[in-house]
Amino acid sequence: MRYWEDMRVGETADLGSCAITEAEILAFARKYDPQPFHTDLEAARRSIYGGLIASGWHTCALMMRLSVDAARRDEAATTGSPGLDSCRWLKPVRPGDVLSARTEVLETWPSRTKPIGFVRRRSEMVNQQGEVVLRVIGITMYRRRPAAAA
């Protein structure tokens, strides 16, 4: 189990990758973000994006999935998040893109009131051309190492 105490500033990790299909882009957008450039190929062609692009909230969701799967492989004692400092959708995500996630620990500090600690990290999604499409700076909570196991 990796607890808050095991997190090191500057530590980086690859979180794996996933592909995104046109069908997935359309399904997510029809349910949650039905703007024409996410749901309608013809309207998307005429938009400032020049073609169908994924909802930014969809790209975030895919990065969350990669993070959760990586935390499970890593046996990380994560316990949710209080929020994010920033999120930037830097480049459009298009059907057929393959996105890889990576993360770096920027800062760690303990909770003064609970047996948890906080980790601020920068996480990015990179497409198959090596372009960063999403950059998030967010905070993750980790459980503290139990005293008996220290």
């Binding site: 703007q35 975030c60 969701a61 895919l62 969350m64 998040s81 400092d85 999120c87």
Partner: protein
């Protein structure tokens, strides 16, 4: 249609009504955030949240649905660059009914693209008891007249 020129700092908009169901919480979590406290009532009850809660990213998705349904139709927006200062303040649970209050905070003209500008909009998402469950400051792209 409200263009970049038409929105004013201080403008407030209230909109949306989103009923959160157990089925949708679990469905979203299975696909994107399969942590035990988003998937299973029994495990969630033993967690620090004391019961099943929605993924924070799911709350974000429900927020954007309300925005696209009620706000963007009357506004000349063309997506967003992202957001700042997102806070997941309280858990969102099955049966909650969410709504949005948004306030225009700042207008930034684009130096490189004269056809558009960025508008910073602070939004608070509240439940049926008026408790704020999530807040964020979106950087929305508005087209100019």
């Amino acid at each position: 249609m409200k263009y970049f020129e038409d929105v004013q700092v201080g403008d407030v908009m209230r909109f949306g009504r989103y009923e959160v169901t157990r089925e949708e919480i679990v469905e979203y979590a299975r696909q994107f955030d399969p942590q035990p406290f988003h998937l299973d009532e029994e495990t969630a009850r033993a967690s620090m949240f004391g019961g099943l809660i929605a993924s924070g990213w799911h709350t974000g998705a429900m927020f954007i649905r309300m925005v696209v349904e009620h706000m963007t139709p009357g506004h000349a927006t063309s997506g967003a660059m992202g957001f700042d200062d997102l806070k997941w303040i309280r858990p969102v649970r099955p049966g909650d009914v969410l709504s949005v209050e948004s306030e225009i905070r700042e207008k930034i003209e684009s130096r490189s693209r004269p056809d558009r500008g960025t508008v910073k909009i602070e939004s608070r998402i509240s439940n049926q008891r008026g408790e704020v469950v999530m807040s964020l400051v979106s950087l929305v792209i508005y087209l100019r007249r």
